[in-house]
Amino acid sequence: MTWYTDPIANDAPIISARVRLARNLKKYPFKQMMTGKEALMIIEETSGAVINDRTAIGVRFKSQDIKQLNETAKKMLIEKHIISHDLLKPELPVGLLLQDDENVSIMINEEDHIRMQTVSAGDNIAASWELANHIDDLIEESVEYAFDKDFGYLTSCPTNTGTGLRASYMIHLPMLEKTGKIKFLIPAINKFGIALRGLHGEGTEPMGSIYQISNQLTLGKSEQEIMQGLQNVTQNIIEKEKMICEKMLEKHRIDLENNVYRAYGILSFGKKISLAEAMNLLSEIRVGFYTGVLCQPKLNKNIYQVMIEIQNGHLQNRIGRKLGEEECEIYRADILREMFN
């Protein structure tokens, strides 16, 4: 099951757990100094190492030619967090290997030769790590990684050197956001080498109160210690979120109910809606479901999946043509009305 389709993740603040590993092949220069020919050879070697018949997992991957995809398909990959904007820069040949359920993706020639990521629904970071570790071993059977006994895995940027690991949770924090506490939280957790940022990573505004929390440091600690540190900080944040939620229910229940039901009303009857508004209303619905305030039948869908499906690339794909902003708002409202009625 693809991580964002699992409705189990509707009932807790953590939506998904993600692991990203950065690796480079020893015999080729890094992105900064490589030629187009070398980039093509890296794509070929990495694809060959992953897509093979030796293991059960290898046959589940398909190679996608990013340059051949149309704009809508590229947008959809970004909206599903499968690729980064950087992969679409035209400088050098790039590659993408995608597992059939989309829970594992391998970007080739992004900032490093190999950027693999594994995602699972809910808070199971250990499952994501095990899978990434397994694929890492699988690739290493065919290639030699750039590795140093003191510095660990060598990466293009020193911010990833060592484990090359970025472990992260996608987390829904409506109460901390609404009460303005999140502003104090961000600098506090930075002290632990942990970063909290908006939905689409660095420098983006949070939408629908959804954040990414991840380790910043990759060297000097084992993978397990890094993930444990992330888990500890995240657990603390969730406790604060729940504490505020309980206080709101106790002291301002009618306001909380009012917000949830107004959101339900607009989503059920609106005729035009911007992405930011829809995301914020869906965030209220999520609150309504997990607090039990919303007495309507539960959506048999992961709310985060809805948040993905109402983004412009997905709307264009559904309608089958490029859409203007106003058209997107109308089709978005259509989908949401259908879902909530």
């Binding site: 890094f30 890492d136 750039a146 003191d150 002290k191 632990f192 890094i226 604060k240 306001d255």
Partner: protein
Amino acid sequence: MKCEKCHINQATVHMQQFINGNKTEIFLCKDCSLQHEMPISFDNIFNGMLESILSKQSESKKNISSGQKGVQCPSCKMTNEGFKSTVKLGCAECYKAFLPEVETILKNIQGSARHEGKFPRKSGASLLYKREVDKLRKMLASAVEHEDFEEAAALRDKIRAIEI
């Protein structure tokens, strides 16, 4: 009356605070009043964890040394200046070519310059072994220097056992 904080919405909440005997009054809208409530302190929620991480971060606060000008990576031809302007390395060999700068940068941004994580399964076994022997040799040299001959003998035996 407008909210005294956002100056947009109508003030519907009247709040009074007593701090050190001084009374302050403020008129707020519903949204801004929520931000005033929920007095949860974020100063001490991560007690205990802070020390362990900060101690690592403060290990090195040196500035990036200017390094030798004109140094070039023999493998990819990245220059010292090129590395410093982009803070991106050109290849695996750059880590050796610009070793002093790399070490300083890693200590500054990562708080450490020593990998404690996974070793590659196939090619890493010999490196792991070499690292272990290097570590024991350093400990042996230190034991000899401190005339701790009992410890030195034990370390020598350990190194022999590994090398066999």
